[in-house]
């Protein structure tokens, strides 16, 4: 992340609440955490998981239940996040044992397992209707204070994740993506580090989930459905898995597009599917790679003009 990208990020955070409604911009920040943390697994370590909604949704339920029981939010968030962490160790242990293909099938199957637990356990989760009636704590009851609260947690999460990515651990993740057998041969227990990557991604996703419940004061059951996992992958890929902040662009794009189109056309997921297919076929670097190429072309164009002017003179 260079100064240029950090500046853009700061501008986005400052201008966001004026560009989008409060619920939208906070949702963008929350899913921003999800997508960037999912990218630690996907873009950096090379592990495709169809189970992120498991952690997002479970954590949202735990957080919602704790708040409904009357406990403060400063208890709900850590406990829900810790819950995600522990579940990620359990689920991750079984999933990373097998290679990429089976890993995907297992994460998918585990996701649906948890979805059905949520569906059936209506006394706790509200089943199909979701968990409702959660109230926002007083200190974040206004739009402004809520946004500040979410932004602080967003920036803190980003900072922590960035520190991890730029540490030796981040490099080891990249080794696993590039060449797992070689990583093993130079002394890294690949299965262990895959579990670490999985856990980090799942825990931060869980943290985001614990915050999600505050936006609409409810947890709809579709937040734990495997389709949500697919949405998360879409956002991450759409934004660009090649760099740290890329997925955030995907989140903003996806949420803005879905909010805009879902009003116009009930079948808007068709458009999303088409965009997804096009990205997968032709633009695997996502929007951020397109932007990078655009910037490079502009730089080249301006440099050429400068050189020509210099030669003319």
């Amino acid at each position: 992340m260079n100064k240029y990208t950090i500046t853009c990020l700061i501008i986005f955070i400052l201008l966001g609440p004026f560009l989008f409604p409060n619920a939208t911009i906070t949702e963008m920040l929350i899913f921003g955490i999800v997508a960037i943390s999912t990218n630690i697994m996907l873009g950096y370590t090379g592990m495709l998981s169809f189970g992120q909604a498991l952690f997002f949704g479970t954590s949202a339920y735990i957080s919602g239940l704790i708040l409904l029981a009357g406990f403060p939010i400063f208890l709900a968030i850590p406990i829900a996040t810790l819950g995600s962490f522990l579940i990620s160790l359990f689920v991750g242990y079984f999933c990373v044992k097998r290679e990429g293909l089976y890993f995907i099938c297992l994460t998918f199957a585990f996701n649906q397992m948890f979805y059905f637990i949520a569906y059936v356990w209506t006394e706790v989760t509200g089943g199909e209707d979701g968990l409702v009636g959660i109230t926002r704590p007083e200190f974040i009851d206004t739009q402004f204070s809520f946004y500040v609260f979410i932004s602080i947690l967003f920036l803190t999460s980003l900072y922590l994740m960035y520190k991890i990515i730029t540490s030796p651990l981040g490099l080891i993740f990249k080794l696993i993506r590039e060449n797992p057998s070689r990583a093993e041969a130079i002394g890294y227990n690949v299965r262990f580090f895959k579990l670490v990557s999985f856990s980090i991604a799942s825990t931060f996703t869980g943290l985001a989930g614990s915050l999600y419940v505050l936006i609409h004061s409810m947890v709809p059951i579709d937040q734990i459905h495997w389709l949500k996992s697919g949405d998360i992958i879409f956002m991450t890929l759409f934004g660009g898995v090649g760099n740290f902040l890329g997925p955030l662009i995907g989140v903003v794009g996806y949420i803005w597009l879905s909010d805009t189109f879902s009003i116009i056309w009930a079948r808007w997921p068709l458009i999303m599917g088409v965009i997804f297919a096009i990205i997968v076929l032709y633009f695997r670097g996502g929007v951020s790679e397109l932007l990078e190429n655009l910037v490079k072309k502009c730089q080249f164009y301006f440099k050429k003009n400068k050189d020509e002017k210099y030669i003319k003179n």
């Binding site: 030796p168 490099l171 080794l175 590039e178 057998s181 130079i186 002394g187 890294y188």
Partner: protein
């Protein structure tokens, strides 16, 4: 300790097929010990058993008198055994520096918390990385991506990654595979230079290299040891000639 690596009755069976059968071998410390044999002799299977890729069906592998039979491959570099692959096996999209740095860090990191500290913290790792890269002659490419290197340069990078573990025993699997004569010569010279610091177990196909640099040569055929000795002994051996000419 005279023999850094001792292999006792090592065997590998795939169903009814015996790929490697009761191989005994001892590698003297500080020497270059080569393993040769015609195609299908079981060299690769043998190599994979020692380097943690394949669990042996029976037999034992001792390193410095410690039993390391069946150890997973990620444990070996920490004990001082590093291996070089037959097919170039680098980290394509990472830079030459990152490729070697990760190998050095693997065995050099001192505490669990090291994994979370900033990369710039590790001066000793960076210094060692630059030294190894210059030893293999790739300093001018240190910031290039591994996939941008020529084949010969990638083989050198392969070697540099292997050396990052600061091993005592090097397992080299056909290091000159696919190299042009000039690059082969460079690699051979490098191996000889390395033998002054490390013990080397070499699997090689190119006879002239093996004859030139080895102290001891073990010859395999059909998964069994058919002869062992100095280069001149092996050159004269009728058993070996028979094996290579298909009369074995």
């Amino acid at each position: 300790m005279k023999n850094i690596l001792k292999i006792n009755n090592l065997s590998k069976n795939f169903g009814n097929v015996s790929a490697v059968n009761n191989v005994n071998l001892e590698v003297e410390v500080g020497s270059i010990h080569s393993v040769i044999g015609p195609n299908g002799a079981g060299k690769s299977t043998f190599f994979n058993m020692i380097s943690g890729v394949l669990p042996p069906s029976s037999g034992k592998v001792y390193y410095k008198n410690n039993d390391i039979t069946g150890f997973e491959s990620y444990k070996l570099p920490h004990m001082g055994i590093a291996k070089c692959f037959q097919i170039t096996n680098v980290f394509p999209k990472l830079s030459v520096r990152e490729n070697v740095w990760s190998s050095v860090f693997s065995c050099a990191q001192k505490s669990k918390f090291d994994f979370f500290k900033p990369l710039s913290n590790f001066k000793y790792v960076a210094e060692e990385t630059e030294k190894i890269i210059s030893d293999v002659g790739l300093s001018h490419k240190i910031n290039d991506k591994a996939e941008e290197l020529s084949h010969g340069q990638q083989r050198m990078l392969e070697m540099a990654i292997t050396l990052g573990a600061k091993p005592e025993l090097l397992l080299l699997d056909e290091p000159t595979q696919g190299l042009a004569p000039e690059a082969t010569l460079e690699m051979t010279k490098l191996i000889q230079k390395l033998s002054k610091k490390y013990t080397i177990l070499l699997i090689e196909h190119k006879m002239h290299i093996v004859m030139e640099i080895s102290k001891v040569i073990t010859v395999l055929n059909f998964g069994e040891v058919i002869d062992e000795g100095t280069p001149s002994e092996v050159k004269e051996s009728k058993k070996v000639q028979d094996a290579y000419l298909g009369r074995g």
